[in-house]
């Protein structure tokens, strides 16, 4: 798969499983990928949550997407993004946020991942020898 096909796959299958480090222990949970394009993958959470603290402490993360026999893993460094326009765009697109105060926006955490991807299928196995830069 090339870069555009991978980004398109992530856009269609936007719930990833995001792995982080909590000290010396691995952690993983489902995570909504708000956007996947040339500028990276965008994730959002709250600064009070462990996942946000873990990414700040140990930014080397990996996210796994799976659909219909194809697995895509993206690894790299998570970078916090305080772009208020991006935060407002996320809130507008995710109605469960409801009304947001300035404090709420400060508490919101956004991370960008510009990583490299590897794919897997049952037939072909892993492609960890050939990563695709996203």
């Amino acid at each position: 798969m090339d870069k555009n096909e991978i980004l398109s796959f992530i856009t269609t299958n936007n719930i990833g499983y995001l792995a982080t480090l909590d000290g010396k222990a691995a952690r993983v949970r489902a995570m909504d990928t708000f956007r996947a394009d040339e500028n990276g993958l965008i994730f959002y959470t709250d600064k009070a949550k462990n996942v946000s603290k873990q990414m700040l402490n140990s930014p080397e993360i990996e996210v796994c997407y799976y659909s219909q026999g194809l697995q895509v893993r993206v690894r790299g460094k998570a970078v916090p993004d305080e772009d208020i326009n991006l935060k407002k765009e996320i809130v507008a697109a995710r109605p469960f946020y409801g009304e947001m105060t300035d404090e709420d926006y400060k508490s919101m955490a956004v991370f960008r991942l510009k990583g490299k991807a590897t794919t897997w299928t049952m037939e072909s196995g892993d492609s960890t020898s050939s990563f695709v830069e996203l």
Partner: protein, 136 residues
């Protein structure tokens, strides 16, 4: 949820994502849960794979299951060399036969006796609120 309900949920949704550590970097991939009961969760892979090497080096893992809720199980993975269990896994997963039948030493089996935490979108907990764990 009670322990029995968590185990039943995992049996019903055996595909999970398994988080591990490789040189202080997080790793995650899809993984099948062969069994989930009182004795723990059972997983299998090939010993040549990175996931096996990562667990052998650092057994502190977490797995995440999604259905109508999310279940996460964390704990220390134990590598087990039970030949009868390996034979049972290969018998029940025919795609493993060409690789591991009579070459069981290359098949890695793990057991996770961990603790589980559940989440659902309408749980309404405050971000960062302490999690409640259920010993499995």
């Amino acid at each position: 949820m009670e322990k029995e309900e968590v185990l039943a949920f995992i049996v019903k949704h055996p595909m999970c994502c398994l988080g591990t550590i490789e040189d202080d970097k997080a790793r995650v991939r899809g993984m099948e849960t062969f069994r989930a009961d009182e004795k723990g969760l059972i997983f299998y892979t090939a010993k040549v794979k990175d996931v096996y090497k990562q667990i052998a080096k650092n057994p502190e893992v977490e797995v995440c299951y999604i259905g109508d809720i999310q279940v996460r199980v964390r704990g220390k993975m134990e590598i087990i060399e039970d030949l009868a269990l390996k034979k049972e896994i290969v018998e029940k997963r025919p795609f493993l036969k060409p690789i591991f039948e009579n070459k069981y030493e290359g098949l890695a089996v793990f057991r996770l006796k961990g603790k589980a935490t559940t989440w659902s979108g309408n749980q309404g907990t405050k971000p960062g609120a302490p999690k409640t764990f259920i010993g499995l």
